[in-house]
Symmetry: C2
């Protein structure tokens, strides 16, 4: 790619940015599509987002942003409008300029994850699911799974109250679902998913005990890098099908790209 003064900008805002795959993914798409846009990473510390935001939104050649950890909730009060999933989950991962001025955001992590599961051949409708981790990404995923017709969601989070609050929100929003806080026991679930950051750093403990995993249970992980986390490796060793954070990330990027007006993402 060749960057000139005419090149438009899109960027991902997060911390740390070194492991992020969005720049490579988006720039490959721009090259394939012949779009004169560069996708870069902006490394912004937690707590610095409001000041950074005031500056970034004054860059007239910046057309869109992907928002990642630790800013997915912090960006909400800075926006002028929110899409339905952003409102439901209190999180945003994609932001674009509004034609009438200002910026609007929407959340695609959950739908991206669901797409990743379904494209890999694992039905969400009617499934019994154990989800460990109810932070920003976890909330978005649980909403997407519930919206897609999951029968049962057992939720767990190390922070007290988080899982219960999410279970209550799901029960209120999707009347058909059974959603409740529960123990981290993989037995009896069709799909078990990690939505905690465990696995991102070398030496992290497993997010749950993998000794009772058995096929045809499906194990999914939100961590995109390394693609094969210790959890994914253990699940594969147990003979289970797996869905990695990479496919969630690709699903999310596809939906974010559509929101950002990038036509023809999948070639």
């Amino acid at each position: 790619m060749t960057i000139t003064g005419r090149t438009r900008l899109m960027a991902i805002v997060g911390d740390p940015v070194a492991p992020l795959r969005s720049p490579a993914l988006f720039n490959q798409a721009f090259a394939r599509l012949g779009m004169d846009v560069a996708f870069i990473a902006f490394e912004v510390s937690a707590g610095e987002l409001p000041a950074a935001w005031a500056g970034l939104t004054r860059l007239r050649n910046l057309d869109g942003l992907v928002i990642t950890m630790p800013h997915k909730e912090a960006v909400i009060p800075l926006l002028d409008a929110l899409g339905p999933t952003a409102r439901r989950t209190g999180t945003v991962n994609t932001v674009r300029r509004r034609p009438e001025g200002g910026w609007e955001g929407e959340m695609f992590d959950g739908e991206g994850f669901r797409e990743g599961l379904e494209r890999a051949g694992h039905a969400v409708r009617g499934a019994a699911i154990l989800q460990v981790g109810c932070g920003a990404a976890g909330r978005a995923i649980a909403h997407a799974l519930a919206r897609a017709g999951a029968a049962r969601l057992v939720l767990h989070d190390a922070s007290p109250g988080r899982a219960a609050a999410l279970a209550q929100a799901l029960s209120e929003t999707y009347p058909g679902i059974s959603a409740a806080e529960g123990a981290v026991d993989s037995a009896g679930h069709d799909i078990i998913l990690n939505a905690t950051p465990l696995g991102l750093r070398e030496g992290d403990p497993l997010p749950f005990d993998t000794s009772r995993l058995r096929p045809p249970q499906v194990v999914a992980d939100v961590i995109p890098h390394p693609e094969v986390t210790p959890l994914i490796a253990a699940a594969r060793a147990a003979g289970c099908a797996t869905v990695t954070g990479r496919s969630m990330h690709e699903g999310q990027a596809r939906l974010a790209a559509a929101y950002l007006g990038i036509a023809g993402w999948e070639g």
Copy 2:
């Protein structure tokens, strides 16, 4: 070039950014030097710089900025330290992080212009020079020419008082020089230079009457794009040697790159 989450950033801040050549020039150098750095343009309107600055300086993976119109003076109060030429001219075109925190700036437009003239074989030492335009770029150029030993500088600017103020500053700083406000008459000068924006836009009038240009007079222009401005074309038609804004820009970029710690710029 391939941009990933690990790619460091440098940028040029200006308005408009579409005609700027710095992104291509710096990115070519980064590719040649094998540096994982992307050089992008940030389009920021006049008056928006303080808010944009507060945000840009919070991008932890941004290592340096080139500052261009209309921000070369406005950036001064936002910086934590100034180099000697920035202090003398009240203008900055390059900004870098300080190891101890904060940002410092220096001005290379003038020295870049002088280098462009001298590399083209035109001696500044002892020369009689007519300079039209005493804005930010013009001030920096006049200081560089005076510092390099120009014998006489006749200055003109359409804004009342500007040329006289610059002449006075030059006379105080470089005791050997003859510097004064004067008429725009090309006769009797070794070097005649345009430091106004005239020539940037199609249909602009010439910055001065070119009918009396004669070799071996040298005509120089600060406008980098188009490279052959109507002034440069008229000077060439009169048989005069010319130095275009492109060579000034390349000189400036070379000095800015050294200030930004980019070793090996000229291959």
